[in-house]
């Protein structure tokens, strides 16, 4: 090969390496950016008057006078809609039977779409589920519903070779010649006056409980549950992990026993997370019976075993990085080894140990699989400290799965799901960021 080709190969080799690092950074961005962008939308969004009604009725928040004047002004525009509906209903009675049949089914679709947009019509007895008590609380959802009201969606399956294509038919055309035809342009041009959208900062998303399985309200029970689970796991795993690390670094003598213990540590680190969940179910709940069924304590214990190897490794590294001179100085002053460890070595290693602890805390907060069978429920209220031994809890990680995959109206509450993922990501990434900063400060200090 000539020199030029060798140079090109060398350069392109470098490019591949740098390219893969850039790809990793891009992957991080591609995952984090849409989640952050949409997640922020759970807190900052354009809310309608329905949102403020909901806040006042469910959480008793907001000014009742402002609200009633807003409601009154929106009712003024809405009354025309209901007038049009009743006129059309009267007209429907006078129609020929076959036409009546045709229009009745179309009309019921219109009514359903209208109810989804504006909430139940006046005089309707209050619906059972909270989700049907209000119209669209978010403006972008209201716009989607408006489109559903104005256009009927149909599928074109004429060509069996390709997948069916969706197309829209204007409902105004379908009702041409009846009194209802006036409804569609009216709603289209007066929708803002009927819903009064305005910029909303819904801080309650973090601190409210959910209403009607996350259709409205916030994610406080999940945040609290995650907090309890992760802290509980740390409570068990951190002391155990640090003590084990002290044994491994200060007392263990090389040999079969020691290498077996170390192998056990790396084996535990490699166990798939779902197996921890099975073990938690079989051991803590079915055998030890720490609780009747799922509970926070069982989940915390399971998570604790999962994060133990990480804590041990980090603590070991931190203890090993304490300069030998510290140890020797302490021993030369007549202190015993037993005394030196808690007074000299552990304080010097503390920042490093904490770094490992913080990272493990983030890992415990983000894990889902171990808590599925041991601690998590889909719907529940925020639990108190007294309940940790007896009751399961909703948790961010589990509820993200549950809302995205198993919720009956998953597509309608995407904003809640994004908000939850963002909350979890923020918790985990902040913990990791603080660990990175902490470590940077330690390495600076060690350099002098």
């Amino acid at each position: 090969m000539n020199i030029g080709t060798r140079k090109i190969l060398d350069r392109s080799f470098t490019a591949v390496g740098i390219g893969s690092i850039i790809t990793m950074a891009l992957a991080l961005m591609v995952v984090v950016v849409p989640i952050s962008w949409n997640g922020v939308g759970a807190v900052f969004f354009t809310g309608t008057v329905e949102h403020r009604k909901m806040l006042y009725a469910e959480f008793n928040r907001g000014d009742s006078q402002d609200l009633s004047s807003e409601v009154a002004s929106s009712e003024r525009y809405r009354s025309k809609v209901y007038e049009l509906l009743s006129t059309f209903e009267a007209e429907l009675e006078t129609m020929a039977p076959d036409k009546k049949m045709e229009y009745t089914s179309k009309y019921s679709q219109v009514k359903i779409a209208l109810q989804a947009l504006l909430g139940p019509p006046p005089g309707d007895t209050a619906p059972m589920l909270t989700r049907f008590k209000y119209g669209q609380t978010r403006w972008e959802k209201a716009e989607e519903r408006l489109h559903e009201l104005l256009y009927e969606s149909k599928w074109d399956n004429s060509n069996p070779e390709i997948m069916g294509k969706e197309y829209f038919v204007s409902r105004a055309v379908a009702f041409e010649g009846t009194s209802l035809a006036a409804l569609f342009p009216y709603v289209k041009y007066n929708i803002e006056k009927m819903l009064l959208p305005e910029f909303t900062f819904y801080w309650g998303f973090i601190t409210d409980s959910s209403v009607d399985s996350h259709f409205f309200g916030g994610i406080w029970p999940e945040i609290k549950g995650t907090f309890f689970l992760a802290l509980g796991a740390m409570l068990f795993a951190f002391p155990l992990g640090v003590i084990a690390a002290v044994y491994f670094t200060e007392y263990a003598k090389p040999g079969f026993l020691n290498s077996t213990l170390r192998s056990a540590n790396s084996t535990l680190a490699g166990v798939p997370s779902i197996v921890f969940g099975m073990f938690g179910l079989a051991f803590f709940i079915n055998t030890l019976k720490v609780s009747e069924s799922k509970s926070v304590i069982a989940g915390s214990l399971t998570l604790a075993i999962m994060i133990l190897p990480t804590i041990i490794r980090a603590a070991e590294e931190a203890i090993l990085s304490v300069p030998k001179t510290y140890r020797e100085a302490s021993l030369s002053l007549g202190s015993t080894k037993w005394n030196t460890i808690p007074t000299v070595i552990l304080p010097a290693a503390l920042p490093g140990i904490l770094t490992g602890g913080v990272i493990s805390l983030g890992r415990a907060a983000g894990e889902t699989a171990p808590i599925i069978f041991t601690a998590a429920v889909s719907v529940g209220s925020a639990i108190g400290l007294a309940d940790v031994f007896s009751s399961p809890t909703p948790a961010l990680s589990w509820n993200i799965y549950n809302l995205a995959s198993e919720h009956e109206a998953a597509a309608q509450i995407r904003h809640v799901q994004y908000g939850m993922v963002l909350a979890l990501l923020t918790i985990v990434l902040l913990l990791n960021l603080s660990a990175i900063v902490l470590r940077a400060r330690i390495s600076k200090k060690l350099k002098g």
Binding site: T267, G270, S273, F279, R327, S332, G366, L429
Partner: protein, 387 residues
């Protein structure tokens, strides 16, 4: 040395401390060390417990149904009466996504590790490392949510064009490089410089044309692919590869760093370029460590639950044809997570125990691969320190 100093101080205290007290001190010291040992061996006890408790609930399944059905049939109807428990398709699904993620993650991860250890200057490396750590820190459920809500609809709606662009971006630089190197190698033996250059340009144009035709032909084939469902093996494999990358990068970077400076400098002194040094000397020396990294990364993908549960489609059949990554599949971990809720209510049934059998399978695979990777790392360290 510390031990000796401790003995020294004990001896000097002998004048003031009574024999009884000394005995007491010794006893407390032994007891204290005993407690420390007990706590340190807690991890080992837990590993034994995990094996025992998973196996305890897994063995009844094999007693009831035997091994053949589980490993050779792909009829998975656990809820039927009597149920069918053929897990072949599920095991195959697990292997499929794991292999797919390895194909993406291993070259990328090793390249990134080489870049971090040998190419980038220290100042840049400082900023690249946190990126990798952040990627490792993102909870699996967040990745799963991304796969389900962002990537799956994208694949379903514009999967063909996406595949085409991926093909172009990934393959065109390599084809270009291959044609340059190929024409160089083919003309290397020609002595006459002028003739050599003429032939070189001729070959370059020829290879370039072939490359362009290949790019567009395959590209248009890919472009016309219609992806039926966005929740498929490819989606999961892509996401899992990002989850396996941090492990692969950090472990193989350690392995590369363990290769001494003298080896690198020896190679440079012989006139090798950086790429040649890395490929011909450093990579072979670090190969066992990189193998360990690959094993650990693959295990991460095999044991991952949330992403596959949310985004693999959970359909228990072997794709047609067997390498079709665009079909929905089902994995071991997702089956355990998804079926335990219902199976738990009928504790003692084969339906409950089959999930533990799957867990045991995962556990055994992870145990073996961990042992292997550990042995490899230890051996590499020995060899390198012995040189």
């Amino acid at each position: 040395m510390a031990e000796e100093m401790g003995k020294e101080s004990n001896r000097s205290n002998a004048f003031v401390v009574s024999a009884r007290k000394r005995a007491f001190q010794k006893a407390t010291k032994t007891a204290g060390e005993g407690v420390l040992f007990a706590i340190a061996s807690f991890v080992a006890v837990m590993v034994l417990f995990i094996f025992y408790f998973v196996a305890r609930d897994a063995i009844p399944f094999f007693q009831i149904r035997g091994f053949t059905e589980f490993f050779t049939s792909s009829n998975w109807y656990p809820a039927d009466e009597p149920g069918e428990f053929g897990a072949l398709a599920i095991i195959y699904g697990s292997l499929m996504v794991t292999l797919g993620s390895a194909v993406i993650a291993v070259p990328m991860g090793v390249a990134a590790a080489i870049c971090l250890s040998d190419i980038l200057p220290f100042s840049v490396r400082q900023y690249a490392k946190p990126v990798i750590e952040m990627l490792a820190a993102i909870p699996s459920v967040a990745f799963g949510f991304f796969a389900l809500v962002v990537l799956a609809p994208l694949m379903q709606n514009s999967g063909g064009p996406m595949l085409m662009w991926a093909w172009w971006i990934l393959v065109s630089p390599f084809l270009l490089l291959a044609s340059i190197v190929g024409s160089d190698l083919l003309t290397a033996s020609i002595k006459d410089e002028k003739r050599r250059q003429q032939l070189y340009v001729l070959f370059l144009i020829l290879f370039g044309l072939i490359a362009v035709v290949l790019l567009f032909k395959v590209g248009s084939v890919l472009n016309s692919i219609q992806i039926i469902t966005g929740t498929n093996a490819l989606n999961v494999a892509i996401i899992l590869s990002f989850m396996a990358l941090p492990t692969i990068v950090s472990v193989s970077e350690d392995a590369l760093q363990a290769v001494g400076r003298d080896i690198r400098e020896g190679s440079y002194a012989l006139g090798a370029t950086r790429a040649e040094t890395i490929i011909k000397t450093i990579l072979p020396a670090a190969s066992s460590g990189i193998l360990a990294a690959v094993i650990l990364g693959i295990m991460r993908a095999l044991g991952e639950t949330m992403v596959v549960w949310m985004a693999s489609g959970n359909s228990s059949h072997i794709p047609e044809p067997w390498f079709n990554y665009l079909e929905a599949i089902r994995t071991l971990t997702a089956t355990i997570a998804g079926d335990m809720g219902e199976a738990d209510q009928v504790t003692g049934s084969a339906r409950f125990h089959v999930l533990f059998a799957m867990g045991l399978l995962l556990l055994i695979i992870s145990f073996i691969s961990n042992l292997v990777s550990e042995r490899i790392v230890v051996r590499q360290r020995k060899i390198l320190s012995g040189q």
